[in-house]
């Protein structure tokens, strides 16, 4: 797993709010990248981005909710903190249903905002870490030969070596050799761990 630089992406149409937020976050030592519109951010977006988005819900042109939908379509995992106004709570609720991590109402206290940003960055980190782990598991699963894969599936299903040998019409000894190769390639010594690993990526490998 590589160490990715986390950035706070500020998407805010109001110049003063954007500028002040940028200064504030920078003074707190966070890398910040400001965007003046949802469109500008969308143009710049790549799945290499890490960190979180501080997104104004109310903007001329494309608003925050729309940007969230477009990012969801792109399978973005960047956590979004919506910045809302006084009357926007129903919108914020919708945004939460769409997967936003949090929202904060303007005008906000710095501590509250920073706290939410910290939490979002943490979540991003974890998501990214688990994503990396999953990708590693998938890579390992893909390195198995078809016979090894078959044997692993039966192991996970709880079949004993004897049963596997009879059903596949091979010797019990051969099953044992495959089994140890599977454990080696998957990088584990415990069947329970193997089961957990494979189940966590089940959706992705089937």
């Amino acid at each position: 797993m590589t160490d990715i630089q986390q950035t706070v992406y500020v998407v805010e149409d109001d110049e003063a709010v954007r500028d002040s937020l940028e200064l504030l976050l920078k003074s707190d030592g966070k890398p910040v990248k400001p965007y003046e519109s949802a469109n500008a951010f969308l143009k710049d977006y790549s799945d290499k981005m890490a960190g979180c988005i501080v997104l104004d819900i109310r903007m001329p042109g494309m608003d925050g909710m729309e940007l969230q939908k477009k990012l969801n379509d792109k399978h973005s995992i960047l956590p979004i903190i919506f910045v809302t106004g006084h009357g926007d709570v129903p919108m914020a609720v919708d945004a939460m249903k769409e997967g936003a991590v949090d929202f904060i109402q303007k005008p906000y206290r710095e501590e509250a905002l920073l706290e939410k940003i910290e939490a979002a960055l943490e979540q991003d980190l974890e998501q990214r870490k688990s994503l990396d782990e999953k990708q590693e598991i998938i890579r390992r699963v893909k390195s198995l030969t078809p016979r090894e894969r078959e044997i692993m599936d039966r192991m996970i299903a709880g079949q004993a070596n004897k049963v596997i040998a009879i059903e596949l019409e091979i010797s019990q000894r051969t099953v044992e050799i495959h089994r140890s190769r599977v454990m080696h390639k998957m990088g584990t010594h415990s069947l329970a761990h193997l089961v957990r690993m494979v189940l966590s990526v089940k959706d992705l490998i089937d």
Binding site: D19, L23, K106, Y108
Partner: protein, 522 residues
Amino acid sequence: MTETVSENSEVTVLLVDDNPQNLKVLYETLKDKGYRLLIANEGEKALDLAHRHHPEVILLDIMMPEMDGYEVCERLKADPQTADCAVVFLSALDDLQAKVKGFSLGGADYISKPFQSQEVIVRVKTHAQVIRLERELQARNRELQSDQTRILNSISEGIYGLDEHGVIEFANPAAAMIMGCPVEDLIGQNFFERHFSTAAESEDNLPVMATCRQGVAENQRNIRMLRSDGSGFPGEYRSTPKLDNEELHGAVVVFRDITTELENEQALEDARTMVQEQRDQLAHTSRLSTMGEMAAGFAHEVNQPLTAITNYARVAKRMMGKEQPDLVLLQETLDKIEAQSHRASEIIRRIRRFMKKPATGKEVLAVPGLLDDTRQFAEVDMRNNEGGIEVQVEEALPEVLADPIQVQQVALNLIRNALEATRSAGVSASVEVSARQCGDKCVRIQVRDHGVGVSEEDEEKLFHPFHTTKDDGMGIGLATCRSLIQAQGGEIGYERPEGEGACFWFTLPIAGAQGPSCAPEC
């Protein structure tokens, strides 16, 4: 001589002679000529017949026993009932003396005896006609006079005829009724002393004085006049000089008591004020309701600078926490705080101005500034109208005379409707607001959108109160707009634009322009 029998039939001729032979001849001569003939053979009898029958012509013998023709004539002329008949003397006395005496007693003509029948016929005819014409003329005169009297009596305005000193020579019954006394009490009185409490102090500047003295016509309203009992009333009068061959003979004054009229006017004025107040009230309520609808937008608008201020303040604090603060950067940040607080107060100022009650009254206004202000206002609760609002104002547009808040209210209402229609249609075309001069008296402001438009059915009822196409609308927006624009002396309307959308317009009078403001086709 057979003509005009019917005409003659109304004519009565009295023949007077003491000689039966003469009477017979006269009778024979005049019978069948269509006259009613009466006969008398002595003076007393003649007077009696004349008194009873009012003959037009009397053929009167001079030489009669008892009472001669002269005396009969004298007595006829003395009686008003018979004074107007034509007396034609008959006498053998063919001397000048007798004729002169006859004429001096009022005789109309003279026929010498022995008479020629032709002469008698012609003279009787002539005099009969003269008398008839005279009587007709008199009857016509009497009729005219009574007509005039009737008119003067039936006029409800008081009429005075004054001499050049202001003495009342004539007063009609209405004048007496207004003044509260009989006509007779007014005649001979001095108009000025009688009707104006200040007459004793100074005669100058009194109403009607200039008409009496200089022959200048006057017309004044709400002048305090006094009745006979000394009570006062507000009056209106017109006075015209009485001229005879350019010579001033006083004045004719036509006047009336306008107490009720003034009361009615006051009542009308009160009603008008009340309507005005209610319109202002309604307009204010409508502004408040607009503000209510826009509250979220305004909260956002005010929160932006507040948020920025909070952020900047934190940044500044952090800078100061450092061992060697960057003073230049700190200064910059404080400047930014200041700018943002101005921005917030500007927004609040704008809201407060719009909510002010009542409206401020008419001012000379520059349309571009007003429209730009309104655009910023409307943008507050604009969301996904990517096109936004475009304002286009013709160059050198003259200033208008109008109430800025009410005009802004109308413009805001139209623009917000346009934005909503655009949003409903899901298009991104901008709302076009334009202003241009129209004729030399007004400026026309137009709001055009490319939204859902107005159905033909709704078009007619657009400005009707309580007509609405919005689910949550009350239907007072456009009706209020119309009353507001009409109060400015302008017009408001809708026209179907080419292509999609709707187009509303209103006009405002150019400052300094006179007369009715705008032609509707502008």
